[in-house]
Subunit: 363 residues, 2 copies
């Protein structure tokens, strides 16, 4: 497939981008870069792939243009720096890259970059222009997330068994592109919003007894964790169940893992896991499992978000519409820990097995 | 040693506390609990052990006392619940415990606990009364932190080699009381504030080349991480070097790892690492390594904190006084990433080896 080939050739494409500009200079043309537009106007929800995708609108960034000259320079600085990283096989963070490139242009008061947000924007431009992941440009994102389960991987020549890591687990790195998944013995992946709930399930040997992989995102899932979930799920055909608080932040975590985010629609197909399902906590669980005493009053942000989500094309499934309307009606929310009101092992022995057995998921 | 014995007997002490109250009830006395006072008035800095320690003042909490009755009940609820956890060998989080105990007292409008802050306070009361760690009451704190290095541990019957975990590392659990440290081959422990800097050093094989253990705290060190640093350092006589941003938050991270915190002075000797030293980033590094272009304007909070710290008895060393005064004079601060302004490998190949070789630390 041509597309796969293009993607596997980040380094080649980066060099080609530079050569094109050199050629334009040699031909005395105005050098330019074509950059796909990333705003909502160029993002659509693809029913078939169930993910947010980028359209084909793009803008031209020219060197000889007062408004474009600085971003043009910035794009090339970032491109040259990442080309160096890839060549030297070094990885670094977005913040490091900003410091690497920040300087005052000689004989001027002009800085290459004043603020990290400027270099970050150029990185996304580059990512989308080259149709790649920033991880393939050796730029690492935030680091969060842990995993345990019956899985053997190879990473930097170490063979690692996620089932033999005691109470801790494997600390998911920011970049999992070079991780090889060697052996998987699991029926599904359970992704949990909170570390504490992850520890509880791990202590109860939930993954051994249920034959699953446990991942904790520690809040919003970092890119490394999203990519790892996606790779495990697609490479080994495993269903993914997301387990978060019953509130707007929990839904957001779910939505980003499943559909991707509007700002990063160009990488949805590599970071998103469209087959992911929402296992809970749902507002209807509260009545079904008698958790009414453990609810919390919904905040403005939860109600506002529920109202907005009612209109999102990617939340039109009747189950989600019912869930969102239930919050607007009941005006309460609940945390994962509410399940502990029923006893500490309730989540392990009753709640999750029941939901999984009866396939009681939101799509 | 009587003290060690007492500490090793958290379960016995918990039961003894309950029995004492039952005896008082039987003797028709007003049941009471002696709770050491935790406010600044009862906290001192011990020059000899270099840590914050709790004095011997305590207050009595009585059952028959309008102001004490509710906290008395809350203390016993928490004590009974943790006794159950210890007996059942289950661990849980502070938030879970709150949900486990939250209910409305029959025939009243009174809740056992309205807010988690109430149950948290009772847990600290219990911790200090029993002279134990909440971890020994099977209550787990926040979870953060990763570690790599030439160390073999045993945890839940798994033997784990921290040197064979690829690019990720071992995810430090919230509770490391049951972790056995089997084999350590390292000259020192380098504790890093930021995950990204940890990944950079890990990629550069810093721990292999320098024969050290790398720990990242991911911001303020969680209790599990502080306890692990303390155990590695004391059980294996390893020096500890702390590597943070040159700002008030970095100093705070250092201070808590080394001295403990005022609010938790009763556990300083089990969570604090008095021999820890501050390797950087220091404000004098900025001139020494030519990082002036990569500084940031200090914020009000940094300057205010520097002013406060000048008066802390535990920052009276002349090196620290000079450091704090330098910030007040220069009015700038710097991040670890500033070192990348000198090239991506500068920190691994130049900065850290030079500081360690010349023992250029703040005490």
């Amino acid at each position: 497939m041509a597309e796969t080939t293009k993607r596997d050739n980040t380094e080649k494409n980066l060099v080609a981008m530079g050569r094109k500009i050199i050629d334009e200079v040699k031909r005395m043309e105005n050098p330019s870069i074509d950059i796909p537009i990333r705003s909502l106007s160029n993002v659509t929800y693809d029913q078939k792939t169930k993910s947010l995708v980028l359209g084909d609108k793009f803008s031209k960034r020219h060197y000889f243009n007062v408004a474009h000259a600085k971003p043009f320079m910035q794009t090339l600085l970032v491109a040259a720096a990442t080309n160096g990283l890839v060549k030297d096989r070094l990885h670094t963070s977005l913040r490091d890259l900003f410091y690497m490139l920040k300087r005052t242009i000689p004989n001027s008061n002009e800085n290459t970059f004043d603020d990290q947000s400027e270099s970050d924007a150029m990185i996304v431009d580059l990512e989308v222009t080259l149709d790649t992941l920033r991880e393939k440009l050796n730029l690492n994102a935030d680091i969060r997330g842990r995993v345990v389960g019956n899985v053997v991987i190879e990473d930097r020549e170490d063979e690692i068994n996620w089932g033999k890591l005691g109470s801790g687990g494997w600390a998911i790195p920011s970049n999992v592109e070079d991780v090889q998944i060697k052996k998987v013995k699991a029926d599904y992946i359970l992704v949990i919003e909170k570390n504490a709930a992850f520890e509880r399930l791990h202590e109860d040997k939930f993954w051994q007894n249920q034959n699953c992989i446990l991942v904790t995102t520690q809040g919003q899932a970092a890119r490394g964790t999203r990519r790892l979930i996606q790779r495990l799920s697609t490479e080994h055909k495993l269903p993914v169940y997301i387990f978060t608080d019953a509130d707007s932040y929990g839904w957001y975590i779910y939505s980003v893992i499943k559909f991707g985010s509007i700002g990063l629609a160009h990488v949805s197909d590599r970071l998103g896991t469209p087959n992911a399902k929402f296992i809970g906590l749902t507002l209807s669980d509260i009545e079904e499992f008698g958790l009414q005493d453990f609810t919390i009053k919904a905040e403005e942000v939860d109600l506002k978000r529920a109202q907005e989500m009612l209109n999102y094309e990617w939340f039109k499934a009747p189950e989600w519409q019912a869930e969102l309307k239930l919050m607007l009606k009941k005006k309460y929310k609940a945390e994962l820990e509410a399940l502990s009101g029923k006893g500490l092992k309730f989540v392990t022995e009753k709640y999750l097995p029941k939901k999984i057995k009866s396939k009681d998921f939101l799509p």
